[in-house]
Symmetry: C2
Subunit: 399 residues, 2 copies
Amino acid sequence: MGPPEGSLVFPHEPVVRVEGPLAEAQLLETAVLNLINYPTLIATKAARIRLAVNNDTVMEFGLRRAQGPDGGLSGSRAAYIGGADATSNVLAGKMYGIPVRGTHAHSWVMSFEDELTAFRAYAEVYPESCLLLVDTYDTLTSGLPNALTVFKELRAAGHDVRAAVRLDSGDLARLSKAAYRMFSEAGFKDPLIVASNELDEDLIADLKRQGARINSWGVGTHLITSSNWPALGGVYKLMAAQNGDGEWEPRIKLSSNLAKMTDPGRKRVVRYRDEAGHPIGDIMYLVDEEPQSGPLISYVGRHDLSFLMGLDAAAHSEDLLTPVFREGRRVALSPPLDDVRRHAQEQVASLSEEYRRLRNPEIYTVGLSPGLAELKVELIRHAPGVLAREGAEAHEGGR
Amino acid sequence: MGPPEGSLVFPHEPVVRVEGPLAEAQLLETAVLNLINYPTLIATKAARIRLAVNNDTVMEFGLRRAQGPDGGLSGSRAAYIGGADATSNVLAGKMYGIPVRGTHAHSWVMSFEDELTAFRAYAEVYPESCLLLVDTYDTLTSGLPNALTVFKELRAAGHDVRAAVRLDSGDLARLSKAAYRMFSEAGFKDPLIVASNELDEDLIADLKRQGARINSWGVGTHLITSSNWPALGGVYKLMAAQNGDGEWEPRIKLSSNLAKMTDPGRKRVVRYRDEAGHPIGDIMYLVDEEPQSGPLISYVGRHDLSFLMGLDAAAHSEDLLTPVFREGRRVALSPPLDDVRRHAQEQVASLSEEYRRLRNPEIYTVGLSPGLAELKVELIRHAPGVLAREGAEAHEGGR
């Protein structure tokens, strides 16, 4: 499944290199893919939503729509890494230390005889962090006026009050402006206006365009499932095998589907940045190949070996692969979640503008080194099917 | 998120009624939704795929693209219920007793010096259930001829051989026909031809239309994530609350979004069938309301109270809700998985044709009983927002 029109913002699929006895390395395939594909997808979706909201707050509200209980948990974690500020998933908060936020439910209001009584009861429990859901009956004529009454009562009782409401249906642009005006006129500065209801980055961007007075976004279904693109297509392929003498022999998978052709050999991945620190491209090298100095040559992508480009020679580079296990022993600790989040946010922020567009972003370049490109072409030429086909064509030509 | 063009085949969202102390019933909300929404979605997707393949075999191949490890497990289980015959998820097979099937990986072929040697080594291990993946190098010129060689060798060695291959890329219609012809001409009757590669019910239906000779379908990503509609929007709402005297008072949630308006009160759901056993509609009744005899009247759906329809009076009916817990004690056992699957298959099969279309199926009718419709209208009229708005309008009108 190819990317939708609004593509990923992260440079490319994560790369993992696994070396080991064939059977053991094979056993890891599905686990590695399952544990990388979904979280990467959701972190990416969260990063796109983060780009849309700019400096507002994003709350991940997805658990009830997550694909299984674990989807809710690992999805909450990934959403936090990608740029969400909080989750409504209390267990994720407990397990991973993600800030937990939410509002009361409609049932809170409905369990009381009337909305005002419900709001007052809630305000009694949370007098200084009272966030009221105002659309149980009618936002404009019931929810907002009742909320205003309660915030005035809290203020009169001497509490330090920030008026705070959540809009969960209706015309979010219009209602948020009405709420802002109502609270501002009553002297409540900078009201917190939370919106939810089938939001995604496109809808958020459109609400921003309309001047909606929303400063906190509750995003559920479309974040936790990445609904417009619910699966990242990472794969796990054999790239080389050791022969009887322990030498590594590169292997290639061809197939008539070009996108399913692999890049052979044991590799490293080097990222190049320009003077401003913006990544300008990654190049995959064979492990025994010296990374280039001087003008860079890269054969772009998995799809087209013929496109030649030059990258800035002055760019500085970094190796993207870090050893996590060596000889079966773990050699790197998982960084704390907040460090992972900070790293992800810095990486996204370091991308130049054209990669951070929500629509039609520039596709980040991942190229093959000259050594890798040469090896790939050679293996393609000598692969069984190609040889057989060339033989067959020669044969047919001779008829 | 509304349903896509190809809608659900199951009659409607599952209905669960929970009664209990408010705080306890509230605690269940997210768990109930999480545990019902995703499995129902995947069982439905599997049912659609089952409709597309007709009597062929469906294998669920989704784990590496599932949204979290649990998505793979509960998704495999749901896919089996909905109509898949097997899974490649070995743990799901072990935990739930789902038949496990699969093929070798491309890496099996690539780990050998050449494809024929790899196939022979595989055939040695599975001489009588040898299924070969033929697209590692080139399906037509390498994979299929090598597979044929191996099946001939197995036959010559006296094995009871069914030629069996898996196509994982390229033009599946053309390649399957070529494979069928090749094996048939060599005297292998009824070859097993498995296809995979980003399949879903639409692609399968199109391959069928092209006369593809595929009789087993490996469906991964699009089944395990229900990729074209990755979240079922089931909700959990307060319908009634007990007052101080222990009497149930119906409650309603309005909101300016009509689809988010609830049907008030404690309810039961009755399904009506015609003489042939086809379901013709469900009606929600208040629990203390006598189900109708004689001509049926139903106010349709949550969206439109005004549409009146008559259903066949001779229809026989069944209550859809069954008690699972009473006073905190479980009173119903989970049926064995194969019984659940059989029940689901029978239910889908009992739907008349117009509901089993893959595209633009008839929307199944779920209506309100006269008592429920009357109650709903009354509560809408007396809800806070509506009263306030009518007051405001009257006020504005008076200006």
